[in-house]
Symmetry: C2
Subunit: 397 residues, 2 copies
């Protein structure tokens, strides 16, 4: 993040003083591959002549630990400090953020020196928040090593941790100076986590990008199986379109002052699946369940053709993603929406697909439980048969 | 804080994506008096038709609790939530910030609804940080009730808490929507806390405002004794010039990307006095000790006339402020500068007076302990006699 600071003090006609501040922040997203190879200067150039604090996960240590340390030793002219997030720290809590700040203090990290996050979405979120508050803000770089990080958590401008039993209650908008995208990391990812990441791609495709949706329909199964190795052209298309599409959506509403956000698609019911399953359902898996339920709901109230609903469900299946969680309790699911509404300033602003690559927003009011139950019924095994939608839009819009 | 969000996505010639964000924040500083009186709409208008979470201190509860609750009940159309910071929370720690976030979650505080801080600098700092991170930022209003809050902590754009044994390690730049300045609160302030706040005024006056310094020399003792009641013209001058002067200094360097800051005067040695005394020395009292030591140091190295040094020491004395802490250990004091250097990105950038209302910055290198000891010796009782400065500027510049 580069900040061009600016401020001005005005005296208004009634004597009120007004202090206007102006912050410009630039985040670069660069592509590279085999990041820790000798001769690859992408990360070295991003660090420059600063002494970084590099924060990484046990998985990164296991797969890349030696190469990473050799690389940093060779390319950091003033040395570096390193912090391996242990298992206890590797959860989205404030105490993990505090541990990072403590380590940064011990390392004597300067205000212009970067924290470098190398890991999945949890790691990049923790570091993003720590960087935002350590000495009132130091730069940070994100190197996502999971697919969900590459296409979602690692490229956004925001971060958050859970607090007081609530998901993402505490966080900031604080873009990294740079995000470095290296698809080679996907090769070391368990297949379940590849599918998990593809759910965020499916989210974007379903409501904003019909072409990307077709790529997923055609090659999704192969892409997951080969860890984005084959077909190569489709692997590139998936990452580039997903990244560009998400950033395009973000750019218009960086600080979320508009509460109708296409990027919230898949993120209305998903907190329930994650929380109710005690996080045995991964974030992307929960997003897939939300996509499935949203599609069923949209068809149920008559704004999505049943054939498009079935394409959406089929696409998720091809990616190896479940369309619901067996333990779902529709009453509890409905009640969970209160927290979502609070986060969107009082209204649900539910994003629903109205076709492949198209969406609308509905719902100021509470859900009719019957509709939710009917929609959910579509997602039970064996229920995926054609049925005429019985619309009751009034209860939702 | 009003944020006019803006973002744009660019594709650079080398294919790099650049996401540029643009945040404009406006903070208003308004004057009012007898804030909780029926008919005074200042605070009511600032809250508007939002449901606020009002956070206040035990002192506010004791002096103004009933009037505050009556006022809020009458003037908040959608009701309000209140949180009394108990003693345990009333310290600058992250756990206090977490408690505020938890309370805000329980209250269902919306993203456009404000937290309102009513209290001293600790309270407004805690609420500032909580507002910055709760749901990635909600608005907040500051109502400082101490002199140090009125002229310093409550009008700035930044906040911080102590962490990992280090002062102000964690915080943000996050201006309030509005700060409401009501000098009537000073009437309920113990005299020690009036003097404490005057130290921040003396800081500003010494290095940037010779006129304000003369007001302090002339009327400082009376102003402290009468809790800024008399002389009235000077009381108004003190608050208005202090507030305007500080905001003017801030405006040019809102995000502290310039590390030579006149507003850091009095804040280089003061963390030592606060910490070493286990906070029996108040913040402003420590600032006064720093001002005294800085003046002695400036005279010692020959950049400040001894007569001006003596005026500075005399002014502090008139305000009832001690010029040093009896337990001072010059070795430890010198060692404490390491932490200050880290916070200023590696260089001390020491602000020293070169006359009344004028300053310079010196010091990339370590202090010569001898000079520090000689300067400190001036501050012992009975040492305030004329002595020819023996300059050794090289060791400092």
């Amino acid at each position: 993040m580069t900040t061009a600071p600016d401020g001005a003090l005005h005296v208004l006609p009634d004597g009120t003083l007004e202090l206007v501040s102006h912050a410009v922040r630039r985040q670069r997203i660069v592509h590279s591959t085999d990041l820790f190879a000798t001769g690859n200067r992408t990360l070295a150039d991003a660090i420059g002549d600063r002494r970084p604090l590099v924060i990484y996960t046990p998985a990164v240590e296991r797969w890349y630990g030696d190469r990473l340390h050799r690389y940093l030793t060779e390319y950091c002219p003033h040395g570096f400090d390193a912090m391996l997030l242990d298992r206890a720290e590797h959860s989205k809590t404030l105490s993990a953020v505090e541990m990072i700040c403590k380590r940064a203090a011990e390392a004597g990290l300067r205000r212009t020196s970067p924290m470098v996050a190398i890991g999945g979405g949890i790691c990049t979120d923790l570091v993003g928040l720590a960087a935002a508050v350590f000495r009132r803000g130091v730069p940070h770089l994100k190197v996502p090593t999971t697919l969900i990080g590459l296409v979602d958590a690692g490229i956004g401008t925001k971060n958050a941790v859970n607090h007081a039993g609530r998901k993402s209650l505490v966080g900031t908008f604080y873009p990294p100076e740079m995000t470095i995208l290296d698809p080679a990391f996907i090769r070391s990812l368990p297949r379940r986590h590849v599918a998990n990441g593809m759910a965020e791609v499916a989210k974007l495709a379903t409501v904003t990008d019909a072409y990307l949706f077709e790529v997923l329909e055609r090659s999704g199964a192969t892409l997951v199986r080969t860890q984005l190795g084959q077909p190569q052209a489709d692997a590139i298309a998936v990452i580039e379109r997903a990244v560009h599409g998400m950033l395009d959506e973000l750019a218009g509403n960086l600080y979320e002052h508009v509460y109708q956000r296409a990027m919230d698609f898949g993120h209305t019911f998903s907190p329930y699946f994650e929380t109710a399953s005690r996080h045995t359902v991964l974030h992307g898996e929960a997003v897939a369940m939300d996509i499935a339920l949203s599609a069923a709901l949209a068809a149920e109230i008559g704004i999505l053709a049943p054939s498009d609903r079935d394409r959406i469900l089929g696409c998720l299946r091809a990616l190896g993603l479940e369309s619901t969680w067996p333990g779902t309790d529709c009453h509890a699911l409905r009640d969970s929406l209160t927290a979502v509404r609070e986060h969107r300033d009082g209204a649900l602003n539910l994003c629903l697909p109205v076709g492949i690559g198209a969406h609308t927003f509905i719902g100021q009011h509470d859900f009719d439980l019957t509709i939710l139950k009917r929609a959910h019924a579509w997602l039970q095994p064996g229920q995926l048969v054609a049925r005429r939608p019985t619309a009751d839009v009034r209860a939702l819009s």
